[in-house]
Amino acid sequence: MDTHMPPRQKLVVVGNGMAGMRTVDELLKRNPLKYDITVFGAEPHVNYDRIMLSSVLAGEKDLEQIVINPRSWYEENGIELITGDAVTAIDTQVRTVTSASGRVVAYDKVLLATGSRPIAPPVPGLDLPGVCAFRDIADVNTMIEASQTHKRAIVIGGGLLGLEAANGLLRRGMQVAVVHLMGTLMERQLDKAAAELLQRELDERGMNFFTNGQTEEIFGEGRVQGVRLADGREIPGDLVVLAIGIRPNIDLARAAGIAINRGIEVGDDMRTSVPDIYAVGECVEHRGKTYGLVAPLWDMAKVCADHLAREDATSDYVPAAMATRLKVTGIDVFSAGDFIGDETTEEVVFRDAARNTYKRLVLRDDKLVGAVLYGDAQDGGWYFQLLREDKPLGELRDTLIFGQAFASLAAGAPAADPTAAVAALPDEAEICGCNGVCKGKIMGAIAEHGLTTLEGVRARTKASASCGSCTPQVEQLLALSLGDSYAKPTGEKPLCKCTTHSHDQVRRAIADRELRTMPAVMSTLGWSTPDGCHVCRPALNFYLLVAWPGEYQDDQQSRFVNERNHANIQKDGTYSVVPRMWGGLTTADELRAIADVVDKYAIPTVKVTGGQRIDLLGVTREQLPHVWKDLNDAGMVSGHAYGKALRTVKTCVGSEWCRFGTQDSTGMGVKLERMTWGSWHAHKVKLAVSGCPRNCAEATIKDFGVVAVDSGWELHVGGNGGIHVRVTDLLAKVTTEEEVLEYCGAYLQLYREESRYLERTAPWIERVGLPHVKDRIVQDEAGRKALYAKFLYAQKFSQDDPWAERAPGKAAAAPFRTLATVE
């Protein structure tokens, strides 16, 4: 044993965020034994990737996927982590820090990584419920919850963060208005031309813009109700997100007597004005500048770690050119460096209005100093590399604007080997800007750990694990290392974390390899967990049910609670019960029986639904079988209002009563419901039949809508109500009721055979295209009849009333009973 080992010093890190933990990570690489480390975090979480909050909001990632350092990392490195306890004071004389809970820790060195906080505009109404920032997990949870209960969101701030928030809320089905103080969006990252293209595209997606909009008041009673602008415009909204910028957190430093300006002042060595206190990240001000992007934080972390590791370190933090990308799916925007330019610069502009692409390169003294790309940003990384190399362009200049592939062709390079470009990069070339990972590190990890997948590289190096824009380069590095043995994934995401296979791959395997049970699927396809998770099990259960009707045994334990308990769980753990009303018809006897049930079980709320039925809310788990039995006794069955299943068939009264009615829409609706009830699907399915083109049953926003005309029936598909409305596409016009049933059955069968679990008909049709659906259902008569026959065959096994099967006293009712009562 080395008896000369010096005693460890005490390092206290204030702030458990990305900059602080990256510095610790870098420090451990340089000198793992020098310090005992204590980390204080104000948030109750481990360190997560704040940049990825917009992907969580947009529903593309979940919280687990954005954790950078799990608890085990802290444990393995002997770091004491104190979460949910902010540091409130630093005594630089006696050298201690004090936390909100009263904890006092002595230090040898302090690292301040207190980050920043959102700027709030100086207007009334900031404390109203429904007003939040977009900064941490709590904010994202507030926004997600609001999207589930409210309709209209207002985002104040049209910069990078604001637009990512707006996009996420739009994806979650809210109507979104964006208020921006300036005339064009993202003016700090984009030039006017690109900003206008961006605004147009977002406008088409349904965002409403209020540019040159100065917020004067956030108003509301009890909850926010809207925003009033200085020019008098009023925007109604139930959620207001503040995203106008960030301000360094400097209060702690100021109180400790550390020099501050806008941020905590640091030198090139990341030291503050007080000895032994360092600072990194968004809380610092370096040479008069503060930072809100991630790449400079990584550079600061390295320099700071150098100095913490060795007293005689000489490295300096030098601000480098920065690049940004907007993380909005399907919109490709990139900018880097000085993209505005001045009288000493030249610019090269390329615009293709038809393809909606725009490129602008700024050059000074034959060097690239800035770039803005819109619509096609795949050369962003290449331009950024050129920009940072800071070398004269020479002949490259002539073809520069056409991108890397063309430029290397023009330079006489061998044609189109996609890996040639990355092969030519030096080992120190940065591939992943978010996590500061260079080519050499990725290649090393692939070789050392035998990595073969993108996920593997992400797990080992974090490259491509954040914004994902370097994914093509990482894949090329994999291809470069592995040659033909690298099988690029299809681009579709894995079904869940238990597998690398996508929904489509799993479905194909079930059919091609005749997998008939869930364990067979999991073992054949190499599931990483013994029995899956809450994401994959319901999906697999559905795929197996569709593939092997009458044969596969429906797995109740893989059903989501609502489908297992045949009722909708509510926020307080009680349930709602909805009996089926065929085509929206009911009788005095049924209504009397419902009224009796409400009285007998003291059901607190009775509500008429949008699907023309009656919802009984507040039924306890133990009451369910009894409520069902009473409804069954009056002739009613489950309405499947809780299922990824056929829900309702909404109708108008049609020719039987209505003076405009052209056909018996109610009768048609009842026939459709009798045929389709009990069918399981990838998501809920709603039908409607209108008796004339006035369309009182709203058939053109349903998954399958029928509109009667004099000469027959129009069949409409792929509609969606709610906030994110999609109007149906016309599938066909038919003349008889039998044809309506046949087309409907065939269409639903095609949908459930091709859809990915939890994909409704609207996104399914957008994915496969209406022509495909028409080919299969309209043009291919034999195919249609075959699909219809398959649908009817499967229905033989699904049209048992689940309520009757769970009547009190039957074995299937046991799970609803309390197992034991202990006094």
Partner: protein, 110 residues
């Protein structure tokens, strides 16, 4: 085996066969419901039937591995530790369980 303090006693609440694999049943007690889980590999766990997030009934969640996903907002609770999986944070009280001849016993505070 979990030990039981002086103030606790073992109370039989039912049989293994009463709980489906990958499922749970509820035991009512004066201090609230307890969810008793049986996993695929026949391990038995008992925790308070209240998710640390918003009080959702964990007994009605999806059981996978030695974990349960809350039916309300998909928090995943590790049944071995009672802790929510990262980055969610929270903890649910565990109740010591013993299985004897196919009977399930819970340690109840006397």
């Amino acid at each position: 085996m979990d030990s039981v303090g002086i103030e606790s006693r073992w109370v039989e609440v039912g049989a293994m066969d009463d709980i489906p694999r990958q499922g749970a049943r509820v035991v009512a007690t004066p201090r609230g419901d307890i969810a008793v889980f049986r996993t695929l590999d026949d391990a038995v766990f008992a925790v308070d039937d209240r998710c640390p997030h918003k009080g959702g009934p964990l007994s009605q969640g999806t059981v996978h591995g030695h974990a349960v996903t809350c039916p309300l907002h998909n928090w995943v609770i590790d049944l071995e530790t009672g802790e929510a999986c990262a980055p969610d944070e929270g903890c649910v009280t565990r109740i010591p369980v013993r299985v004897q001849d196919g009977r399930i016993l819970l340690a109840m505070v006397a």
